[in-house]
Symmetry: C2
């Protein structure tokens, strides 16, 4: 997986699990699972569908993965790890809550646009995870929410953000970014960067930054 | 289905298709389809699952509906019709774009919280509709988007809203409301009304209403 750079570049759609060779069997199966779950949902997809999309036999799939659920878990694990890293990097990019929030929103928005197919699976198929996997993923989701809430609270504490409910405001910021994965189309009129630019402007408004900031037209 | 009132009350979760007796077979099958699609997705659900959840035989289902897709279409049709009506009623409630937007956001948010189960199916299973049904539903979706965009544009034209991109701003307002259906929980700490109140405040900020409006704390 490509490194996420300081400028906010995020990886292209790639359901990586840390494998270094994109053509190996494990990666092919993950890519096939993303494609199959995206079209037919987790419950509508069989291991045979996934194996077949990867050009393998169902038996060959079980050499690499224990179950369809393990594939979903690894896709979800990877998506949540990338998202948490984006948010942590954005938060670490500055001491100023305004700059932190802009960095987080830019990265978060671009990721959900570029990786819209896997991001939909990651966010819509949580209920199909095993209870143990779901609990593990929930810990990461809480870390993501908490980091964004901390930025909002820090901005309120410094008197640069103004909101009556930092927690719901943080959730709305997250929600806006996550839902980009639902409506974004690669062939649409707006690029991921266009959306990130506008969403940075909206984020400043949502947290109640007053006056004309850089991003607040 | 209960009437949506001027105060912005919206119907409780009820996958109505216009049937007057909620206990009849057609309604039971629609309710069973909503429940089944919510748990296993459209593709992961069989007509046998739906019939069984409604306490019927698979053959009995076909007395009432042609196919699983017809059930999805009717759920989608009903959800989109309610949503368009909410938006139209909000828009018709005033001549002032500020009041119109507040009315629309309040209704839209409350609907997506209260009807979160069916709203998720309505928004996430579009690709499972037949091409003819999808095109029909898309016409309604465009009407919903257009109505919200018109309110934003009217506010900009009157100098009360300030945004560099009314179209993307309207989409963000819609997106924020739709995504409530993903994260809202009936047992959560915020009621549908709490969320609608805060989202009205956020909507005023998103469209760039300046100064302290009623909802803009």
């Amino acid at each position: 997986m490509r490194q996420i750079t300081e400028s906010g570049d995020v990886p292209d759609e790639h359901p990586a699990t840390g494998e270094s060779r994109p053509d190996n069997a494990r990666d092919r199966l993950i890519a096939a699972a993303v494609e199959s779950f995206a079209v037919r949902g987790f419950h509508g997809t069989t291991t045979r569908d996934i194996a077949s999309a990867a050009g393998m036999s169902p038996a060959a799939l079980y050499v690499h993965y224990k179950s369809k659920e393990e594939l979903l878990y690894l896709i979800s694990r990877s998506g949540h790890d990338v998202t948490l890293r984006l948010v942590q990097e954005g938060a670490a990019s500055s001491d100023d809550p305004v700059e932190q929030l802009l960095a987080v929103v830019r990265r978060f928005t671009m990721y959900h646009a570029r990786s819209h197919t896997s991001a939909r699976i990651v966010n819509y198929e949580l209920a199909a995870l095993s209870p143990e996997h779901l609990e593990e993923i929930r810990v990461t989701r809480r870390s993501i929410e908490q980091k964004i809430r901390q930025i909002v609270e820090a901005g309120v504490a410094r008197g640069v953000f103004h909101t009556s409910n930092p927690q719901m405001t943080a959730l709305a910021l997250l929600s806006l970014g996550v839902d980009v994965a639902r409506w974004y189309r690669d062939e649409g009129e707006w690029s991921d960067k266009d959306i990130a630019d506008h969403y940075c402007e909206l984020a400043m408004r949502i947290v109640g930054v007053r006056g004309q900031r850089r991003q607040d037209s």
